[in-house]
Amino acid sequence: MEFYNGGMATLEHATAAAPRVHEEVLDNGLRVLVQEMHTAPLATVWCWYRVGSKDEMTGQTGVSHWVEHMNFKGTTNIPRDKVKGIIEQFGGYWNGYTWIDQTTYTETATRDALDRMLFIESERMASCLYDPVDCESERTVIISELQGGENDPDTLLDQELTAVAFKAHPYRHPTIGWLSDLQAMTRDDLYSYYRRFYVPNNATLVVVGDIETKEVMRGVARHFGGITPAEVPRRQRTKEPEQFGERRLTLSREGTTAYLKLGYHAPSIADPDFFPMLVLDAVLTGAKGVNLWASFRTPPPQRSARLYRALVNTGLASAVTGGLVPTAEPFLYTISLTATAGTPLPRLEEAVLVELERVRANGISTAELEKAVHQLRARLVFENDSISNIAHQLGYFETVASWRGVASLQTRIESVTADQVGAVASERLRSINRTIGWFEPLPIGSGAAMPVGEGAGAGPVSTGHRGTESMMNYPPSCFHMKSPGKHR
């Protein structure tokens, strides 16, 4: 019991709101969340940092994500050539991702790897190497990641729409960064950014699985207790000014398919409008849930959703998706459509706007509310199918608000009324609150070839990892993480 006798005081304990989660904050400010789950002989560790692409300055866009990549390249006590296999020898999986509000690292392995996983995360927090040769080598890996994203026209449109919808707030630039910044940043830029934000008082460590809480806390104290806190510089962010009129953009590039995307300024997770908006999205495009790590892997139940019926069942679009993700500050609610071959974009746009005006004018029915709430509740159950997904939610919510928000998700969803949904539809789906983006394909060979590498999408970007045995699935799954809510 060295931890409890060693004077590292426990500052906070979990409230009754989520009795199964044990919370402690170390003297150095590291917040630790532990949940015992004895359903499989596994443990998962996630270490979250409150730093994402919204913290980046002009000239350094993409630095958060590049730093994430560098934090897999060896530490003082994990030589570069020992990184490979450090978790795999326990049958484990590791990954990381960066998005607008957060950066996170994770390992999932058999429970006997617990101490190893805590050791890795403590090393990552304090002792990464940033070898100049590795920094250079990773520059081109990230540019390759960016260019792979640009091969997808919908990803390009997403990036352009986000940049137009925000004219001031740093949510406007893609997490992977703009190409010229990726070409210009130096090793010192990366390292100083790392040192500024990777301190225990800016982090949350989440451990879930077949573990004993006391054992976890002893390990945490041993590995993290000696890491010195430091003041995290206050980040003054420009507030996005109110939008006074619809914005539009058109991408004209060679391609085979037309895409339409609408982006509306959306409520942050702290805004009372968030949950009515979540229900509204379920009515329009089917419930996705609120787990960024899990939601996009399974398509939503949407066959009876309003926009699916009005646009896909009528043959105007081959796919429709809605995207609303919990964020720390107001981000976007997006509706993405793939036009069927031969459908002009103006016709598709007119049809979707008719539907959105209808819900603005008339709200939703009680039956629609009940169905959407049931879908969202089922989604919460389905999302909790693995220790990784459970741990992800605790840490993710801590980076956008508080982990305690996870426990109240169901109650918040169930308390939404049809009137509230009608009110947010009327207010949020106004034309002056939206940006409309078109991807208009030019004929292949017409000469509008891609100048390679501009940025890539508003979705989170991950380090990437392949799975295990080749099963009988075809085609093989994609190597890197795609934007949430993107299904074909």
């Binding site: 490979k84 049958g91 890996v141 390759s144 081959s318």
Partner: protein, 426 residues
């Protein structure tokens, strides 16, 4: 605590009088059940003049039955929060969904209705045709799809069941009408072609009884097995470029035909593939091309040992200026593994990883259901999850070396490059 790796999954398996195989496994992770219904009705059963037919069926089979309209199915699933996905690979069409435990019987009833009595209404066929045309056009603008499909066509021939495009072509789907969909369903769907797996927080007896109620009345002739010709290994190197100058990055698909899943050498090949292009972040290929050369965000290999020798594929996405260098590096890494075999340390690491990752593979209901379907499809036995570690432990370094020598011959590789790349100095 469930000690899946020690006691094994031990699912309950039963065969109904009409030949349908039902497998149920209780798991208490969440109050939900995953339903995975697989039929031997993959794309290789497409008639030669109607490639894309199985895929077309997968997009229309759940759009109305003789007793339920498309809207009624949509309502029935959506109000339970259930998203049914119908997917098709070369051999199998799968209907997969997850529902709350309380909704098991109701959901299974809809799934059974869909597979037994699809109506393929004319208006739905027309609408989904438009969607499929759009999907094919999107594929044609996607270098990763173009390279992968191009490789399979070159390895197997464009008319072979493994070589043709799974969604068909704009031309071939024009020839698909309602009658063709009905014929495919009549020929390939029947209880004897069904393998139904259910995994979740329910008593296996309850799940099996629900399946019996839903499927026991089904009477249909057993579909004939697949007629598939094996393809001889390529001799000589083939390189093909598919220029897509509107793209930012080039995709490389590089491969060979490999072995059957039933081949006793499978476990040596599995380890060989893991060492070459999987372990940690892409095995030896990842070490070289991503970590040391910084050329690619993704580079990996995959092994699809199947009913006939399936493809062994190496994939990478690189800047067009690096295509030649990346292909050279792939050649060199393959030649090195073929010449020297794996190290003892690599053998230990990959074995530890593959055995140690079993609890993760079997953590979720979806993961267990997929695993049990693979067991069924390849006839691996219900205790395969327990036996697999011994099978991997028994593989020697020499056997992995032999697998590499047999397969990884750059002089016999087939290479397809799709993207903003016109040169062919490879």
């Amino acid at each position: 605590m469930t000690t899946a790796t020690h006691r094994g999954l031990s699912p309950v398996r039963t065969v109904l009088d009409n030949g349908a195989v039902i497998v149920a496994k209780q798991s208490q992770a969440t109050p939900a059940v995953t339903i995975n219904a697989a039929f031997a009705a993959g794309t290789l059963f497409d008639p030669s003049h109607q490639s894309g037919l199985a895929h077309f069926v997968s997009r229309t089979i759940d759009r109305g039955t003789l007793t339920r309209s498309a809207d009624a199915i949509a309502e029935g699933l959506d109000r339970r929060g259930v998203s049914l996905s119908v997917s098709v690979n070369r051999h199998v069409m799968s209907l997969v969904c997850t529902c709350l435990v309380e909704d098991l019987e109701g959901t299974l009833d809809i799934v059974a209705d869909i597979v037994m009595r699809p109506a393929f209404p004319e208006d739905e066929v027309k609408t989904r045709h438009g969607e499929i045309v759009t999907l094919i056009r999107q594929d044609e603008d996607n270098p990763a799809v173009a390279a992968t499909e191009g490789l399979l066509a070159d390895l197997y021939g464009a008319s072979h069941g493994y070589g043709r495009r799974p969604r068909g072509t704009l031309h071939s789907v024009e020839a698909i009408d309602r009658a063709a969909l009905q014929r495919f369903h009549a020929a390939r769907f029947g209880p004897a072609a069904l393998s139904l797996v259910m995994v979740g927080d329910m008593e296996p007896a309850r799940a099996i009884e629900a399946a019996r109620v839903a499927f026991a009345p089904w009477r249909a002739p057993a579909p004939p097995p697949a007629q598939l010709e094996s393809v001889s290994r390529a001799s000589g190197r083939r390189v093909r470029v598919i220029p897509m100058m509107n793209k930012a990055q080039a995709d490389i698909a590089y491969g060979f035909t490999s072995i059957r899943r039933s081949d006793p050498d499978y476990y040596a090949y599995w380890l060989m593939n893991n060492i070459l292009g999987q372990y940690s972040i892409g095995g030896r290929l990842g070490d070289r091309i991503r970590e040391r050369q910084g050329m690619a965000y993704y580079v990996f290999s995959s092994l699809d040992a199947n009913v006939i020798p399936g493809p062994m594929t190496i994939r990478a996405g690189v800047n067009p200026g690096n295509v030649d260098r990346a292909v050279d590096s792939i050649d060199e890494e393959l030649a090195r593994l073929a010449a020297d075999g794996p190290t003892d340390a690599e053998m230990v690491e990959s074995r530890q990883y593959l055995i140690g990752s079993m609890p993760r593979t079997l953590e979720t209901n979806v993961g267990i259901a997929t695993f049990l379907q693979t067991e069924e499809f390849f006839g691996l036995g219900l205790d395969y999850d327990v036996r697999v570690s011994d099978l991997l432990m028994a593989v020697t370094r020499d056997e992995v070396h032999k697998a590499a020598r047999q397969t990884l011959v750059p002089a016999n590789a087939t290479v397809v490059i799709a993207g903003p790349y016109a040169g062919s100095t490879v």
